[in-house]
Amino acid sequence: MSKHSITIEINGESFTQEVDSRKLLIHFLRDDLALTGTHIGCDTSSCGACTILLNGKSIKACTFFAVQANNQKIETIEGVEQGGQLHPLQEGFHQEHGLQCGFCTPGMIMRGKELLEKNPNPTEEEIRWGISGNLCRCTGYSNIIKSIQYAANKLNEKQEEAA
């Protein structure tokens, strides 16, 4: 098994480490860096529990090698709260009861983040399709949609304030 030294920026911090070429990114994050907020629900890209952002784009870390992330920027759920301020998505999930067991939640929030960055005013239909790669077994999705809408409104308000 060949080893590779990789350097990845994760939540604004740079990590350099030796990894096996076959190590999956999800295991690198969870086992090596103890960033256990990103979860594993299937390992076949089907559930979205492992969703993170790679250079701002959501990917499923269970089917991505750690070495592929070399010299790239990663954001995980642990990096979403900034300066003690919850992100509007985190607030939205809490306010709208968008989570129950919480297992899918980090993936949903990361996916929601990219969704809102690309489309700040999504329709319900667009949100439904937007999170269709993320499974939730607990909530029946309605409140997840509301949580993302809550965040969209909040982000737009902030934008207006800033303008």
């Binding site: 096996d20 809490h94 949100i127 997840i144």
Partner: protein, 791 residues
């Protein structure tokens, strides 16, 4: 209208308090079993059988053992030395931990590997799987053939057993039922199959077992809904090797969904515990998704023949059901001991049916064991599907509107408490208003008009009703136990000197929000703000003994225990208040948060004053402190109910189906937290349409599972799921201290027949009377083709 007795600050019952547990989950700081990492921790992985039925000829460990980093390969023979190769199931059947000679289903555990790293363990499993020789045998897959003379005898290990019949169970008055059918004007009959499905919580199962030799103490973090019962089971099964109960600690950390699938003991847990015990290091085992779907307990798998008798005016007069239950190779259902088919006898449902008879035979096949719930209280979904489906079949036969027929046959409000033909005493109910409310909300009359117009144009739409009655909250301990342990539940409440509190419970939340709702119950009863009440569950070293969370039993049992413990605390608080105010106890009156002197409300002591005094200034002769424990044994179960209406559009060319509307009116008695209850109903509805339209574990004739991954076992996504429209009626439970009933499973139970009835309703003019769930586009397409709708 939900009334609140407490202020928002106190946050007692009826307030939509935001959940306390969210704080960690939205930050990715939940602590699930797979998040536990211990120094020196080893990884376990499992080699599984490629065949459904085969003799193991040999297992060669050497190739696996040669891989650097592999510490051990564990086989059935190894476990046999400690008499740990078999274990009891919750139904007093037996299940292999690891086989010594025969494998009984595809994906069964055959041997385990312990290694320093999960990748090495996976390598070793591959090497090991290539080094196991089998002799294949023809498996028994079709349960209908299980009792044939030429069927293989699957369990020769069971003394005295000569066939694959596990048990027969029957209830009701057979003779009277036969007479009702003989005398009936109308009889309808359908074969109804409730397919084998899987709960598929997004977190799979697993554990971290850590045995510390020096202290002889075993700690197991595991994905279990019933940590206390598991501790006892471990002590009973492994007592002989020196694991005794006071030195076993089971911790059920955050759980990523349970739904019944995390009640049983799986072989993986036992092997990991044995491995840690033998090696003396922590061992982690987390199954992957395909292992979870292919080997963990299934749910349902009931083949039912359902018959309903009635007068020509539509008055139901008798119900008769015969069921064949496919249990796989062992009965590993998770039912109370005395109820091998769970609470199936709720099958007379919401209707006043004078007589009923149901019988059931369970058989072995070469499929994985199980028979757990799928977010339902012990086989209630099967029962509700049977009665709600056959009610529609009767309506169709009589040319009656299905809503109308239901109104005619509902148990009436003044009949409660109502004793059903199969012996249950329904605590309370008022069915007609719930159905009427659902019809108003959905606009029933207009929909029927629309349907008629569409039909005339060759378009297909259906309206499906389900008016279910649930039975939850096991249970009165005279009838309900699991492996002999009575199904009470517990609460232990301590008030701190500053008037804040901690409370611990024998249940275990898997997303239901206990940290919030239990705090609200205590806030209601003690007037201490819910925000200041810490709730803990899941650690057997600290929490009081309880039977855990499943079958919607937490609110009916542990919730009641919380209220009762709070009452004990209030009794003592009254004494302290009387002492402090220098009046007699009888002169005091309680309002949430304080005692005051009757007629002089300005003379009062708050619960906080009293708590402080309990530790600083309590009456002479009284024990210090302010705490109480209560083990609650419910006098009866609770019977939540509701009416659901599903509106379904079907494309007459492709048979593509779309749920246009789904209206759900639920009645779960008094509501603790409306936001959480609505959330539970949403989730349950999604898990209701899932088996109705998408989910089924499918096996071929050789016992190969055809859809054992998330790529082909279809959970509904946000796209298939409609926007739920929910509402309530409130009929309190007369015997529960808070008037509450369980709720989280009503929607899973009530939704499938609403969906199936909608589809059949859309096709009824073609002469279709029944379609088995899941009602897939392919099934409907075939019907449309057969009926000439599609050429």
């Amino acid at each position: 209208m939900i009334m609140c007795k407490t202020s928002k600050e106190i946050g007692g019952m009826g307030h939509s308090l935001k959940r306390k547990e969210d704080a960690r989950f939205i930050r990715g700081l939940g602590k699930y079993t797979d998040d536990v990492q211990l120094p020196g921790m080893l990884y376990m992985d499992i080699a599984r059988s490629p065949f459904a039925y085969a003799k193991i000829k040999s297992i060669d460990k050497s190739a696996a053992m040669e891989i650097p980093g592999v510490l051990a390969v564990i086989t059935g023979e190894d476990l046999k030395q400690y008499n740990l190769h078999w274990m009891p199931t919750l139904m007093s059947d037996t299940q292999m931990v690891l086989p010594t000679d025969t494998v009984m289903y595809q994906a069964q555990e055959v041997a385990a590997v312990i290694a320093t790293d999960r990748y090495i363990a996976a390598d070793a499993v591959q090497a090991l799987e290539n080094s196991i020789e089998y002799e294949q045998m023809k498996p028994l897959i079709d349960p209908h053939k299980a009792l044939d003379a030429d069927a293989p005898l699957l369990r020769p290990d069971k003394e005295g057993r000569t066939d694959n019949h596990i048990w027969h169970w029957q209830t009701g008055d057979q003779e009277a039922t036969e007479q009702a059918f003989d005398e009936a004007d109308v009889v309808v009959k359908e074969q109804v199959y409730i397919p084998r499905i899987h709960v598929a919580s997004i977190e799979t199962c697993g554990c971290v077992a850590s045995y510390e030799k020096a202290e002889g103490k075993l700690t197991v973090w595991m994905t279990t809904q019933a940590p206390h019962a598991i501790r006892t089971v471990i002590a009973l099964v492994a007592g002989h090797v020196g694991l005794s109960e006071e030195r076993i600690r089971v911790i059920s950390p955050d759980i990523g969904g349970g739904f019944g699938g995390k009640v049983p003991v799986y072989p993986g847990y036992v092997i990991a515990i044995a491995a840690s015990f033998l090696i003396g290091k922590p061992v982690k085992w987390i199954e992957d998704r395909s292992e979870n779907l292919q080997a963990d307990s299934f749910a349902r798998d009931y083949h039912m023949t359902v018959e309903l008798a009635s007068t020509k005016e539509g008055k139901m007069t008798g119900l008769r059901i015969k069921t064949l239950a496919d249990h796989g190779y062992t009965d590993a259902a998770a039912n109370p001991s005395k109820f091998p088919s769970g609470l199936f006898s709720i099958v007379t449902g919401s209707y006043d049916i004078p007589t009923a008879f149901t019988e059931m035979d369970a058989v072995y096949t070469n499929k994985p064991p199980g028979g757990v719930a799928y977010r339902c209280s012990f086989r209630v979904t099967e029962a509700v599907h049977a009665i709600e489906r056959i009610t529609d079949v009767l309506a169709q036969k009589l040319g009656r509107d299905p809503a109308d027929l239901r109104f005619q046959n509902f148990i009436q409000k003044d009949q409660f408490p109502y004793r059903s033909a199969l012996g249950w005493e329904y605590d309370s109910g008022d069915y007609a208003p719930a159905l009427r409310k659902a019809m108003d909300m959905v606009g029933y009359e207009e929909l029927r008009k629309e349907q008629a117009e569409k039909r005339a144009r060759g378009e297909l739409m259906g309206i499906g009703i389900s008016s279910f009655t649930e039975i939850v909250g096991a249970g009165p301990s005279k009838d309900f136990d699991i492996l002999g342990i009575k199904m009470f539940d517990s609460a232990e409440v301590r008030i701190h000197p500053t008037g804040k509190a901690i409370a611990r419970f024998g249940t275990k939340s898997q997303g239901q929000g206990h940290e919030t709702t239990y705090a609200q119950i205590l806030a209601e009863e003690l007037g201490i703000p819910a925000m200041h009440i810490q709730i803990e569950e899941g650690d057997t070293d600290t929490a009081p003994y309880g039977l855990g969370t499943y079958a919607s039993r937490s609110t009916p049992t542990a919730g009641a225990a919380a209220a009762k413990a709070a009452h004990k605390i209030r009794d003592k608080a009254r004494k302290i208040a009387a002492y402090l105010l220098e009046v007699s106890e009888e002169d005091l009156e309680w309002e949430p948060g304080k005692f005051f002197v009757k007629g002089a409300p300005e003379r009062s002591k708050t619960i906080q004053d009293i708590a402080f005094a309990a530790y600083t200034n309590h009456p002479q002769g009284m024990e210090a402190g302010l705490e109480a424990t209560h083990y609650y044994d419910p006098p009866n179960l609770t019977f939540p109910f509701g009416s659901y209406i599903c509106v379904m559009d079907i494309d007459p060319k492709t048979a593509e189906m779309k749920i246009r509307r789904f209206v759900a009116i639920d009645d779960c008695g008094n509501i603790i937290n409306p936001m959480i209850v609505t959330g539970q109903i949403h989730g349950g509805l999604a898990m209701g349409i899932a088996p109705a339209m998408y989910e089924e574990l499918i096996y071929d004739d050789d016992g190969n599972i055809l859809n054992g991954t998330f790529m082909d076992y279809l959970l509904p996504t946000s796209v298939e799921t409609p926007n739920w429209e929910t509402g309530h009626t409130i009929t309190p439970s007369p015997h529960h201290p808070l008037g509450a009933k369980g709720v989280a499973e009503s929607p899973t139970v009530g939704a499938p027949p609403a969906v199936a009835n909608a589809v059949v309703d859309a096709l009824s003019h073609l002469g279709v009377t029944h379609v088995d769930i899941p009602v897939t586009p392919f099934k409907v397409w075939k019907i449309l083709k057969e009926k000439g709708v599609i050429s």
